[in-house]
Amino acid sequence: MGAACETNSTPSRGLLDNPLIFAFMRSRLWPGLIAYPTLVVFGYIVFSLLWGPGAASANVGSGLTWVFWWPLIPLAMFAMGRLWCAICPFGKLIDLVQKVAGLGRPVPPFLKRYGIWVIDATFLLITWADHAFGIVESPRGSGYLLGLLITASIVTAVVFERRAWCRYLCFLGGLSGNYSRTSGVQLQATPAICATCKDQVCYKGDGQLAGCPVFEVPRAMASMANCNLCANCIKTCPKGSLRLMLRKPTSELWFIGRPKLSEAFLAVVIVGIVLVQNITMLSFWEPLMDRLSGWLFDSRIAAFTVVFVVAMAFPFSVVAAAAALSAGVRRERLFENFARFGYAVIPLDLAAHLAHNLFHLLAEGQSIVYNLAGVAGIYETGPTGVVSTSTIQVFQFGLLALGVSGSILTAWKIAQRPGATGGRMREAVPHLVVLVAFASLNVYLFTMPMAHRM
């Protein structure tokens, strides 16, 4: 029968049907070809941050980290999911450490269950520390942060198996997980092929190549939140089960099977974080801090902490209020509704995050060129902007428009899921209002003049 029949019924493997993409992803060159050079550049960045110029505006490491890499990372997540994680220097460092000193102990259940909350807390702590101690503005501060992350990732790599750090503890991994759900690509296995497989080398490894570094079983993988497209499963699967499919951006968010409060919480927290990032770069920020500090024993840290708590509590309270109004439709608890609809904020998060950082990339991008030239002994200066401020604003508002559209669509699709007893519109409207309010707030903030980061 059937070889011909089997060939005819073989489903499309999506992008992997392209022989070049397939060959590249199966080759040993991926992801090492990019990961090792990235590790070298990262090493230089850390060196530059710790021992280079003390002014962020003159430090190549600061520019490459906060003006170049940080703005581009959400874009990469939207385009290709957690692809960055496959070439991330921390991940490569973990792989190298585990070759010589890894004990490969299993990840404790506590970490599996509450890791995302650790990520949420770390993200909040880093954002707070950034403004309280000026991490981004200080090359040394940025260097200390990276040093702490390197230390934590190496200690984790020594003790635990695979990339436990990336999956359960990396704050950027948590962010990537949320943003990657909006991406337009999905790696998935072919159920019919996997049904005949007993080895699961995609998960366990084949002796020569490790199994999935982020503890995913491809046959059961319905989300791109954790897959980093390292392609180990594509390389090891003897039956060619893996497919790299294109999908509608944000579509994964429409059908979250088991919504998690921790992930929804992170999504809502990011609204607050972007709010803080925007506010601290506006002209009224310094006078506001001066006045608040005067009331709080002349402590800028105390003053910022107050603003930070308010900024974080604001989106959380608003979404919780919407959830309270919406929850009655399905007779569900407030936090169940919060968890379901919290995912709808993610596209807007991504857009606002990207729009904010786009300003830094496009308004300060040239400074990286001047600083790199300075390292080579060429003294140059000039405008730091790549395009005009009004052009940047067009991009920012365009992104926000796309983001809020994606969020509204997601909220609507979430409300369409079976189980509503009192009307889908009634369930969705409170959340739609909140999404439009968040978008309007961002539009307002982006119309105001912003300070440069460097």
């Binding site: 003390g54 962020a56 430090n59 450490v97 890894g102 230390t151 200066t381 401020t389 508002f397």
Partner: protein, 192 residues
């Protein structure tokens, strides 16, 4: 959904037209001190907020009147050390400033004399007080000088931090290597 996207895009475009705001100025290089050498008001910048041990990239911001003059920058230590900074002109990309951008003179495109920058590096061997000295020699050979005391610090990373992270990383690696050897099965033919 398409309608909504269209409406939001229009709102955004309107906001752009109404806003028309500029970015706030960037931080730029930290100012170490101002020096007044005769008629020349000069600003000395560094690539760190103060002088630091090791490499300093120093930038002099000079007024247009100093154009064509011979400018020397040196750092003088307390024990008579003299570090002469080899200055080179900083290329300003994006063209010279013209009156085109100035209120009331738009479109005239007359060149405007502007401040210019000289930059060089100095390797400082020690912390403590240093004097920055600028000499401007004009076309008649007259030297105008200015000095300003500065303090050099150890601008590198905190040593306690380095020691703590280094110990943790090193300790974890050593622990991992030793623990692996203990748990690894003994090879056949080898005895303890």
């Amino acid at each position: 959904m398409r309608r909504l996207t269209l409406v939001l895009s229009l709102v955004a475009a309107l906001a752009v037209l109404l806003a028309g705001t500029d970015a706030l100025a960037s931080g730029g290089l930290p100012l170490l001190c101002d020096l007044q050498a005769g008629p020349y008001a000069i600003a000395l910048h560094n690539d760190s907020p103060s002088l630091v041990i090791g490499r300093n990239v120093l930038t002099l911001e000079l007024p247009p009147e100093a154009e064509g003059r011979d400018v020397q920058l040196s750092l003088l230590g307390t024990n008579g050390e003299t570090l002469t900074v080899g200055l080179r002109r900083v290329t300003v990309l994006g063209g010279e400033q013209t009156t085109e951008d100035m209120p009331g003179m738009e479109g005239m495109k007359m060149p405007v004399p502007s401040e210019f920058l000289l930059r060089g590096t100095a390797e400082l061997p020690k912390t403590g007080p240093w004097r920055a000295r600028v000499d401007v020699t004009d076309t008649t050979g007259t030297v105008q000088s200015a000095e300003q005391e500065l303090r050099a610090i150890d601008g590198g990373p905190n040593r306690v931090y380095l020691a703590a992270t280094g110990t943790l990383i090193g300790g974890a690696l050593v622990f991992g290597v030793i623990a692996r050897r203990r748990t690894r099965p003994i090879r056949a033919g080898r005895t303890r």
